[in-house]
């Protein structure tokens, strides 16, 4: 057991511990903070796997974007100091059993399969390679999904604005007329 292994298990413990706290704590803001720690732990796991680019993207998008967004929506919809209702005990037991069974089952499958053919080749993709292949039009290029995803993002952006926009006086009048 060397340093690297110890670091891996520490990161794993952080990810899982924070995740468990995130889904069980009754204070919603704390839940968001535990989710944040879990996501940071996953970024650390990517750093440990030496895929720094994905790690950085993970932090930018999840921590800088999604968690901030979630925290904002908490600010807008919750009162400070209020606790969420505790789920029913039967429901908790049932869900916990389902989750444990699922974990056991999947892990059993993984163990059964084994994944023994681990190649020893080093895996150190540079940002250049990632960029070139993502935007290439050759057989392993990802330009089409890239473009589709950009369209999706644009649509999502427009959709969000439309959904979250407050109705103006004009629309209210318009809707009132429709009712009549």
């Amino acid at each position: 057991m060397n340093t690297s292994t110890i670091i891996f298990y520490a990161i794993a413990a952080l990810i899982l511990g924070a995740a468990i706290l995130a889904v069980t704590t009754l204070k919603i803001f704390r839940s968001a903070i535990w989710l944040l720690f879990s996501l940071v732990g996953i970024a650390a796991l990517y750093f440990w796997m030496q895929v720094e680019f994905i790690a950085a993207i993970q932090i930018v998008v999840y921590v800088g974007g999604i968690v901030v967004l979630i925290i904002f929506s908490i600010f807008l919809t919750q009162q400070s100091g209020k606790e969420m209702a505790k789920p029913a005990t039967s429901k908790m037991i049932f869900s916990a059993l389902a989750a444990l069974f699922g974990t056991g089952f999947t892990f059993n499958l993984i163990n059964h399969y084994g994944f023994n053919n681990i190649s020893a080749a080093p895996f150190n993709p540079s940002v250049d390679e990632i960029g070139m292949q993502m935007l290439s039009t050759t057989s392993h290029g990802f330009i089409l999904p890239f473009e589709v995803v950009s369209m999706l993002l644009l649509a999502a952006m427009v959709g969000c604005i439309v959904i979250a926009m407050k109705p103006t006086e004009a629309t209210i009048v318009h809707l009132n007329k429709k009712e009549d």
């Binding site: 929506s73 869900s95 989750a99 699922g102 999947t106 993709p125 990632i130 999706l152 959904i163």
Partner: protein
């Protein structure tokens, strides 16, 4: 780091997935449900990156998949939160049990 077998990383991602599932089952608050979904998406990402690294180190497809998943997760979260805020405006609550108009 080759001392850590792939199965251990997969165990982390599996556990993470089912923790997210547990959260999705027990929580009734839309924001916390969204958080649980994020955990599940992340567990999938870990799998993609780990498989790419351990099984196909000469390719980059796993990385791309995880990049796209991250992007879509961002879009999904943004839309979800817009819906949540709209729901809060009309119902003064973001509990899923309170939004029952569409039930028949």
């Amino acid at each position: 780091m080759n001392e850590v077998p792939l199965t251990h990383i997969l165990f982390v991602s599996t556990a993470l997935f089912f923790i997210g599932m547990y959260g999705l089952f027990t929580r009734r608050n839309l924001i916390t449900m969204l958080m649980s979904i994020e955990l599940m998406l992340n567990s999938v990402n870990i799998n993609f990156v780990a498989f790419n690294k351990y099984l196909f180190p000469d390719k980059l497809d796993g990385l791309f998949f995880s990049l796209f998943i991250i992007t879509i997760a961002a879009a999904e979260a943004a839309v979800a939160i817009a819906i949540i805020i709209n729901l809060y405006r009309s119902h003064q609550s973001i509990d899923v049990d309170d939004a029952t108009e569409m039930k028949f």
